[in-house]
Amino acid sequence: MNGVMNGVMNGVTEHSISTRSLTKTYRGAPALAGVDLDIGVGITGLLGPNGAGKTTFLRIVATALAPSSGSVRLMGLDPGSADARPEIRRRLGYVPQELGLYDNFTAFDFVDYVAILKEHTDRRARHDEVRRVLGEVDLGDVRRKKIRRLSGGMKRRVTLAQALLGDPRLLVLDEPTVGLDPEQRLRFRQVISRQAEDRCVVLSTHMTEDVEALCDRVIVLEQGAITFDGAPVALAGLAAGRVWIDDRPDPTAIVSWRTGDGRHRMVGDPPADAELLSPTVQDGYLVLSGLHDEVAA
């Protein structure tokens, strides 16, 4: 590897991910339509409905998928180049949407196997690294248990552990909190926030609470295009003055639901005398989706 490449790879560049006019089509159907993004250090959340292009974007960023057109730079390198791709992958951690674990391996053996595939060949050093990452996700005590005997949350953490191997500069997490109970989600947030201090973390999720709690930045994708890019508080701000509560549901609201105290929380255009509430990221997302739908209609 040349010196220039070393210079780029040894630290996080200003933009760990940089895409220009990124498109991906599946049999003519666009999954991504000209995405321009620069993502740096910190936690960036991707929100969007199913089929919005989140997983496609993450798979391209994880070098598992090639774009149809446009350019991608990861940590300053071009993943389309066969020479650069291994270098990127050495500095990349990926948690796919499907776990893909080997059930008859122990947690230790599976992470060890992935460590070999990440070119950790010195046995002693590799085993130390495997113990370290399993400790990071609080699985040190169960590392000798077969994966099939672990709970769903533990399995999620095994996939996270393998992603942390080698102290990657770029972490790509596709719906990492699916299936986790509240306590496990809190633990997960703790681990991720620890990791994100000096590296780039990109995660896709349907959990707006995770975005609110974790992310410095949120990007909303709809039909392969970016419809929002900013801070979570700014996304929540889209719903300022548009969230209210009443004893009866309002049919003109974008969405309304009955709360635990029997009243109805609504998002949309409130009546003049409405009792307004502070908006959340979820409210902002709903407003954005509603606006997007109106524009599309």
Partner: protein
């Protein structure tokens, strides 16, 4: 081959060695051979020694190798493995290396056999290794559990008798194809070379699946030519075999 492939081979080989079914298979094989060696009837003895005894452990090894090769696809782990620096080609080599421990054992047995002039049936121990290697590579190539049968299914049915090896007719008078004369008390080198060349050719097929450049194409063509040449060579030296009366 780099340390990555060796590390993969060590891990996969370790899992193979820890598989109790493989050892159960070798236990059955040992009992079978013991029975064969105690049998005075030459024909029965040869029947026992023709490698059938290796079918059981060989079968379990094949199953193990099949699952090892296919588990990435079966569990959906390929998406994750597509994002690591070690490519599928190198994993293929790692699976092949996993049979190295068995191969070393075979080479040792062969060396002892040659030194001590033990009849050449010992060389048949190489077959499980080759079968596992071929199955591994073919499993990767075909992506199915059954695709390899037509390629390797006939190998364990070979016969060794009085230092001869071949696929033999059950009907009297027994005769063998693929027999190499002049090696009655040593190993059937031509056939062993043919099997090795076949294994190399299968490696090139597996590599071609992921890498299609001039070097891979040349290796494929060259290995294929060697396989054909050795197959022809076996036919040229073919000699009908009739068991000696009274043995």
């Amino acid at each position: 081959m780099s340390s990555v492939e060796l590390a993969l081979g060590r891990v996969e080989g370790g899992r193979l060695v820890r598989n109790p079914l493989v050892w159960l298979g070798f236990g059955v094989s040992a009992l079978w051979l013991r029975e064969a060696l105690l049998n005075d009837d030459a024909e029965d003895r040869s029947a026992y020694l023709i490698g059938y005894s290796l079918v059981v452990p060989g079968f379990f090894m094949l199953c193990h190798a099949a699952l090892a090769v296919l588990r990435g696809r079966m569990t959906g782990a390929e998406e994750l493995f597509a994002t690591v620096p070690v490519t599928r080609d190198r994993r293929t080599v790692g699976h092949g290396v996993s049979t190295l421990a068995a191969a070393v054992t075979v080479v040792c047995c062969l060396a002892i056999a040659l030194v001590r002039w033990i009849p050449s049936w010992v060389v048949l121990l190489v077959f499980p290794v080759l079968l596992v290697l071929q199955f591994t590579l073919l499993g990767l190539w075909y992506g199915t559990v059954t695709g390899w049968f037509e390629w390797v299914g006939s190998l364990p049915t070979g016969v060794v008798q009085d230092g001869w090896y071949g696929t033999c007719s059950d009907e009297p008078p027994a005769y063998c194809d693929l027999v190499v004369s002049g090696f009655e008390r040593t190993t059937p080198w031509w056939h062993a070379a043919y099997l090795v060349a076949l294994a190399v050719w299968l490696v090139t097929i597996a590599v071609l699946r992921h890498r299609r450049d001039r070097a891979a194409g040349t290796a494929f063509g060259g290995a294929g030519a060697v396989v054909v040449a050795l197959a022809v060579a076996q036919q040229l030296v073919l000699e009908r075999y009739s068991p000696m009366v009274g043995r």
